[in-house]
Amino acid sequence: MAESELLQGTLDLLILKSLALQPMHGMGISRRISQIANGAFDVKAGSLFPALHRMEQAGWLASEWGESETRRRSKFYRLTRTGRGRLQSESQRWERISLAMASALRAK
């Protein structure tokens, strides 16, 4: 699926979800999203980094500097307490919406 078709808020949720297990750097997040969405989404850097910085400022993510697998200084993001709460509430909302959408579309 092309990235432009991502619904508003979807990218945020995907980022939150991708960080649920462990802290990751930007590239890792991008690959993880691609992996958990079975390759449906290809998140480009031009969308990913603005989103990461926005979410960091909003207090959902925190970051620290660490070393990547190529031994280069990289910025690792992790979920904050607020971010974790956000992931929970957004997941629930998204499930409700997708259920509702699915049933609406099935309706005769």
């Binding site: 750097h25 400022q57 190529t70």
Partner: protein, 882 residues
């Protein structure tokens, strides 16, 4: 929010670097992945670049997002702050008003300090300008200068690019344009205007050798010469002589200096050439009318110039022992000399107003704490819903920032609106009044105190957010933590101690002012009208020393006095040349008959006053011995003198001076016929000096500026028009000005002390009021926080009295600590203002005790009301509370 803003500002560079690192790491990782997928490194990098879509574009959009989010949060926080401030309109109004008053008062006082003390003088390269004075170990450090000495200084020194002199005495009578008018003139050397760097608005300054040329002040040019540009080159008649106008000073030109250096002149209307292009006559080393200005050469320090002047002074002492014995030369920066008399007073006011702001800040901090306690549940709830501690603190900080900004905005408006009224009330002899304005520096100061205030407030929300954290999500959080109540206690103690310092300062100044006003000046201050005349040159028959040529002046005085005495309501009238407390003075040397001659360079000299018969009786100076002047003491009769008690004490300590003789430089013996009481001539705070009085008809020089003194049965000011009419009848060409009642002169002589006393008293009252509100606020808050505890106490048997005493004790304890600290601070403050006090010691026990008691009483009353409320509460209600 603000914290984020500042972090962004300060760490902008770091943020950029981090973003760069982050993206480069991404690029590298993607490239490495591509290589793993089998691409050659070059292609791998290219593909990674393509995928990334341009590092700069990504960076740009990240930056946009960061700013956008920042703005969004800011707007959100401001909106939230405004909403919450509006909800608590009472709190908001009190806080903003307090801040506006505090910041406005600070801005106003600082604009005065800035205009008078801090601004550079309004001339080019002002730090190179100095004033030069003669010094004498006995007569003082800043004496005006003899023309011949000035000439030698200018000739011999090399440290100055220019040196100029000003003689403030010349007066001119401008006639032929309606009512005659006296123009205050200054005679200056040709170097004067170039030295100050004044570029004439019209024409030019005069040249050293030009005579009978005049430079007009801008205001006189505007008001008397119709602002005609064609004025330059035309003639004007001044004192019956023809002068050519060569220039007009710029509109904003004024001579910065002490009015006391210029014979009470605050401005000059016309400027003529003092000459001194060639060596002056030798006798001018014995007369000292000049103020001297110098401009230091580039690269020459004041110390170097002073060292050179010391050498010149040594040389002059050796050459002219008669006139220059023991005399030195002092150079002092022009900016310093002009304001040396008011520096302490202005800085004291600044200190006082900063204290007021601190007290106000403490109050608002207290209010914020009270609110914080009330909002603890709200905060705890929001924290539970996931708001981070930082976000909460940011929000509260934004709230404080909004408060402070609104307060300082209103404060600044207050300053701008009240500015003109304030300037109208300033003592007229305050130097540099014209330069008081709200300029960049004042705005910077306001910004600075606003920021400082904001930080003080900012701390409160920080502490508050710590409280929130420590309490976690205990929704039933109740009461204030002990840390917080300690903080509030400290705030109260601080307020009380600052208020005490201000009250003590005000108390001392009030006591000093009233001591000053109780000084008996030595003459009558009520029912006396005074006015000064300027007699045209024909009255003087040309100035020559030692010749009695006053018949026309005496005739004028006799005729005018006669007409004035005939005015209904007038009791008596007399003339003097130098009125007490009017800022003018003259000093003469003399020789006492039968005494061994003084060594060269040592003189007996006293202040000297030409007066007419009837002067002592009119102004109410008592005759202590001998007789007063009578009409017969004139040009044709024996020469006589009256001395005051101070002079009698100093020169005839164990004798009766009546009948003794003395002489001036004119070599005529004069007999002392009486002794009169001392008067405070130079100021109420200044001890009377030895004085001698001479009948006007017998003075050896010519005095053409008589001041009439009229004693009345009725309100003296009401006689002004009748007096003016009488003068016009005697000689319509004699201008009359400087009309004042003796009461006004006395009051004007203490106007600086009165002004600062009034301002500091106002500040002290404000401080007392604000601090008492602070105590009241904290005690009531304490009572409401502990309502439950009191309920329990009473339920288990505590009496109402015990609860009442408990609270009162708490208030009393805080007040006592505050007063104790305040007393120490007040002692230090008292030492700082010691030079401003008259007749009261800086550690005046009565004042300190009185203000302590006042403050204690107010603090106790402020605790009494909440204590009553607690004691009268129904214990059952208290227990049900919450």
């Amino acid at each position: 929010m603000l914290a984020v803003f500042f972090r962004n500002l300060l760490r902008k560079k770091q943020t950029e670097q981090e973003l760069d690192d982050e993206l480069r790491a991404y690029l590298e990782l993607t490239t490495a992945e591509n290589v793993r997928c089998g691409m050659c490194p070059e292609h791998a990098l290219q593909k990674a670049r393509r995928d990334l879509g341009g590092i700069e574009q990504v960076k740009e959009s990240v930056r946009d997002i960061r700013v956008g989010v920042w703005l969004e949060i800011l707007v959100q926080d401001i909106r939230y702050a405004l909403r919450s401030l509006r909800r608590n309109s009472g709190f908001t109004t009190v806080a903003i008003l307090t801040l506006a008053l505090g910041i406005g008062a600070n801005t106003t006082i600082f604009s005065m300090v800035n205009g008078v003390l801090l601004k550079p003088l309004p001339y080019p390269n002002p730090d190179r300008l100095v004033t030069l004075w003669e010094t004498h170990p006995a007569w003082g450090p800043f004496l005006t200068v003899a023309p011949a000495n000035f000439y030698d200084w200018r000739q011999q020194s090399t440290s100055f690019s220019r040196m100029a002199a000003l003689d403030p005495y010349p007066d001119f009578i401008l006639t032929g344009r309606g009512e005659p008018r006296r123009l205050a003139g200054a005679a200056v050397t040709a170097d004067f205007f170039p030295l100050l760097g004044v570029n004439m608005a019209l024409g030019r300054s005069f040249r050293a050798t030009e005579d009978h040329v005049v430079v007009l002040s801008y205001s006189i040019w505007e008001s008397y010469f119709g602002a005609r540009t064609a004025i330059v080159g035309t003639g004007v008649r001044l004192n019956d002589e023809e002068y050519t106008v060569v220039g007009v000073t710029p509109r904003d030109f004024s001579l910065v200096g002490k009015t006391s250096d210029f014979q009470a002149r605050t401005r000059f209307d016309v400027w003529i050439n003092l000459g001194l292009a060639s060596p002056p006559e030798a006798w001018t080393r014995g007369t000292h009318p000049l103020s001297v200005f110098g401009r230091l050469k580039p690269g020459i320090s004041l110390q170097q110039a002073q060292a050179e002047l010391d050498g010149i002074a040594r040389n002059l002492r050796r050459l002219y022992r008669d006139d220059n014995d023991a005399k030195g030369i002092a150079a002092i920066p022009m900016s310093e000399h002009a304001v040396s008399g008011v520096r302490t007073a202005l800085l004291t006011l600044l200190a006082a107003v900063v204290m007021v702001l601190l007290i106000a800040c403490a109050n608002i901090a207290n209010l914020l704490l009270t609110r914080a306690a009330a909002r603890q549940k709200e905060m705890a709830l929001r924290a539970a819903l996931g708001a981070s501690r930082k976000r909460l603190a940011q929000q509260l900080l934004t709230e404080s920032a909004v408060l402070v900004l609104l307060g300082s905005g209103f404060g600044l408006a207050l300053t701008l609106l009240s500015g003109p009224a304030l300037i109208a009330h300033l003592p007229a002899d305050l130097p540099r009044i014209a330069e008081i304005s709200v300029d960049g520096r004042v705005l910077a100061f306001t910004t600075l105190i606003t920021l400082a205030t904001g930080i003080v407030f900012g701390l409160v929300p920080m502490l508050q957010s710590r409280v929130v954290q420590s309490r976690g999500v205990r929704l039933n959080a109740r009461g204030i933590s002990s840390g917080q109540s300690r903080l509030r206690g400290a705030l109260i103690v601080g307020q009380v101690s600052l208020a005490l310092v201000l009250l003590a300062g005000a108390g001392l100044m009030i006591k000093s002012l009233s001591a000053l006003l109780q000084v008996s000046p030595g003459f009558q201050t009520t029912h006396i009208l005074t006015a000064r005349f300027s007699l045209p040159p024909r009255y003087a028959n040309g100035y020559r020393f030692g010749t009695a040529q006053h018949r026309r002046i005496s005739a004028f005085q006799r005729e005018l006095a006669g007409r004035v005495r005939a005015i209904p309501g007038v009791r008596s009238a007399g003339f003097t040349s130098y009125l007490p407390l009017a800022g003018t003075n003259n000093n003469w040397s003399f020789f006492i008959e039968g005494r061994p001659p003084n060594p060269p360079g040592v003189y007996d000299s006293t202040d000297y006053r030409p007066v007419t018969a009837g002067y002592f009786e009119t102004i109410g100076i008592p005759i202590k011995r001998g007789r007063s002047f009578e009409a017969r003491d004139d040009e044709d009769h024996a020469l006589v003198v009256v001395v005051n008690e101070a002079m009698a004490r100093q020169f005839w300590p164990n004798e009766n001076p009546v009948g003794k003789r003395l002489k001036f430089g004119d070599e005529h013996w004069r007999t002392i016929i009486g002794i009169v009481g001392d008067v405070h001539h130079q100021g109420l705070a200044i001890a009377p000096a030895p004085e001698m009085y001479i009948p006007w008809g017998q003075v050896p020089n010519v005095e053409v500026r008589p001041t009439i003194v009229v004693r009345s049965f009725i309100e003296p000011a009401s006689l002004t028009s009748a007096l003016r009419k009488a003068v016009a009848e005697v000689d319509p060409e004699v201008p009359m000005d400087q009309v004042a009642t003796m009461g006004q002169l006395v009051s004007g002589s203490v106007s600086e002390a009165r002004f600062r006393t009034a301002v500091i008293s106002l500040f002290a009252l404000l401080a007392l009021f604000v601090a008492s509100i602070g105590v009241y606020g904290v005690m009531s808050c304490l009572v409401s926080q502990r309502t439950r505890e009191f309920g329990i106490r009473m339920a288990v048997g505590a009496t109402r009295g015990a609860v009442f005493a408990l609270i009162l004790r708490q208030g009393a304890k805080l007040a006592a600590i505050g007063i104790a600290i305040g007393l120490v601070a007040a002692a230090l403050f008292g030492r700082l203002i010691a030079s401003l006090l008259y007749g009261v010691k800086p550690l005046d026990a009565a004042t300190l005790a009185a203000v302590s008691i006042l403050l204690a009483a107010v603090a106790l009353f402020a605790s009494y009301v909440p204590a009553r409320r607690a004691a009268n509460a129904d214990p059952m209600d208290s227990l049900r509370y919450e």
